[in-house]
């Protein structure tokens, strides 16, 4: 019995160490490479012993000028999240309260569809309405991902929220919408934070929409990454520094809001 009690923690420690190494080492490698010159990267002998350099980061923020792309990613991520919250949260509330399964399924189809099929029609519509390449078109495109995500998360959240408080509010003379606004929403801060944070991360990481829909002024970070692969050369050091630059903020962000990210990723699984 006692040997078993010791054995399991050891087994657990060994297994979890393996897991952590597998998950973390690639990132460390990326970070390490971002401080290497290209010659050091291409020379396997300089795996660990090399002269660290900041040149790659100078390229990222100098020649490649990543700052505007960062601002674009931030603007598009924040705006699509906020607008999606504004129209998505009330929608998921009525869907949850009145069991509007058809509408909620409809919204979820948006999560399932392969987005390649939407790109050309979207671009066509945006071009006709003069929105092509603007922030508006990208925000709308990103909302196509954030809105279903937010509805999915909030649907689960509202279903779990006891209905009694709302009802007692209505008894006190509040209209149903009033009860939602004054009571339910105030209790929903964790849910809202979860939905918003996750939606922002998804937008930050999105590649395909901006690949097709952005213009020079509205390009986001994942597309800018390709500036390091040019017609006749590939700048590995710069590419890795750029990858770190893109990944680091979102990782830090996720770590700060860890609780909400986890709640969002696991949302919907606990329902029913």
């Amino acid at each position: 019995m006692s040997s078993k009690r010791i054995a399991y923690p050891i087994f657990r420690a060994v297994m979890l160490t393996v897991v952590v190494i597998t998950l973390v080492v690639p990132f460390l490698w990326m970070v390490l490479s971002s401080f290497k010159s290209n010659l050091a990267i291409t020379d396997p002998k300089q795996l660990f012993s090399f002269n660290p350099t900041l040149t790659n980061y100078e390229t990222v923020f100098g020649v490649a000028d990543f700052l505007p792309f960062m601002i674009n990613s931030l603007v598009i991520g924040a705006a699509s999240t906020v607008v999606s919250l504004i129209i998505g949260v009330p929608a998921s509330w009525v869907m949850a309260r009145y069991q509007m399964t058809k509408s909620s399924t409809g919204v979820l189809v948006a999560r399932i569809i392969p987005t390649v099929s939407l790109l050309i029609p979207w671009y066509y519509i945006f071009a006709q309405t003069g929105l092509a390449g603007t922030y508006t078109s990208l925000i709308l495109a990103h909302m196509f991902v954030s809105l279903p995500l937010i509805v999915w998360i909030m649907l689960g959240f509202f279903e779990q929220l006891p209905i009694d408080l709302e009802e007692s509010g209505q008894v006190d003379g509040l209209t149903p919408i009033g009860a939602f606004w004054r009571i339910t929403l105030r209790l929903s801060t964790p849910g809202l934070a979860t939905a918003g944070i996750l939606s922002f991360i998804f937008s930050w990481n999105n590649f395909m929409f901006a690949l097709i829909l952005s213009s020079a002024q509205t390009r986001t970070l994942p597309i800018a990454l390709y500036n390091f692969i040019s017609y006749a050369s590939i700048d590995w050091g710069g590419l890795m520094a750029a990858s770190v630059t893109i990944t680091l903020p979102v990782c830090v962000f996720a770590l700060i809001f860890q609780r909400y990210v986890v709640a969002g990723l696991t949302a919907g699984s606990m329902k029913g």
Binding site: P9, M15, L16, V20, L23, V24, P26, F27, W29, S33, T42, P44, L47, I87, P90, A91, W93, V94, M100, S103, G106, V107, V109, A110, I112, I113, P114, S117, I120, P121, W122, I125, M143, F144, V151, D172, G173, L174, T175, P176, I177, I201, N205, F207, M208, L221, P222, L239, S243, I246, T247, V250, C251, A254, L255, V262, T266, G268, S269, M270
Partner: protein, 306 residues
Amino acid sequence: MTPPKPVAQTASALSDFANKHRKYVLAGPATFFITCMLIIPLGFTVYLSMTGASGSVSRNADFLGLANYAEILFGNDRFWPAVWRTVVFTSVVLTVEMLAGLGIALLLWRTFRGDSILRVIILLPLVATPVAVGMMWMLIFHPTIGAANEILSWFSVSAQGWLSDPRQALPTLMFIDIWQWTPMVTLILLAGLRSISDEPLEAASVDGANSFQRLIHVILPTLAPTLVTALLLRAIDALKTFDIIYATKGKGGGSYHEAETLNILAYSYSFDYQYYGKASAVLVLFLIIILTICCVLIIMRKKQRV
């Protein structure tokens, strides 16, 4: 009953209307948005799939009816292999992710010192930008300058082609997907495990069940709905995997199309070959496949709950 408060009494006609039709007023904008962004483009894609549109969509194209579908289903040498690869990719990746995810979740189930740090680390692959992750692995798996081969050489294992070897490309991509998404399964299952009450487990222990028996007879049945949900969420994304394949293998998925899944095939047909008609037909078929799989999983999920 207490008399209504003055605040509510001032409700204007507008708010009366809004409250009366709250279903439509509140759900309206979201539904309208999704409809515009989804139904219209989808209709356009279905229309394109029945034409010979190629080169440029604004040029006049012949209406072909179902000819594109017939060609793709019966006369195309890239469609079925792509279906096969999509299915293999998804099923292998899901199996490993579910098993590994469950394993890690079980290890993390009971709290211990430092487990919160682990739960933070586990988040990293999930939130990292997929294109950047693709670039990172492209360097690590580079056949001549990559770290993977260098590490193999320490153990006197000869250099592998990884992403650049037609036989290894898809397995390598599976590895990357597993690396990135197992944590998601872990987190979902961990949440599920934490909500299992102790009583049935203790009862089982009292009955003399060992850990393995408890896992099979108590934990897994209770966890089943969560497992199916994790499966559903992952299946949707795994079927549509795009970013890492595009970043590492490009359009067409390699010399033998060895990494060409349905999504990549559709992308190459649209943006490399400019066969918009054919590409749209592939997309419609792809959508039908995804919807079928999702419906099956959703039905499974409903059954688990009853």
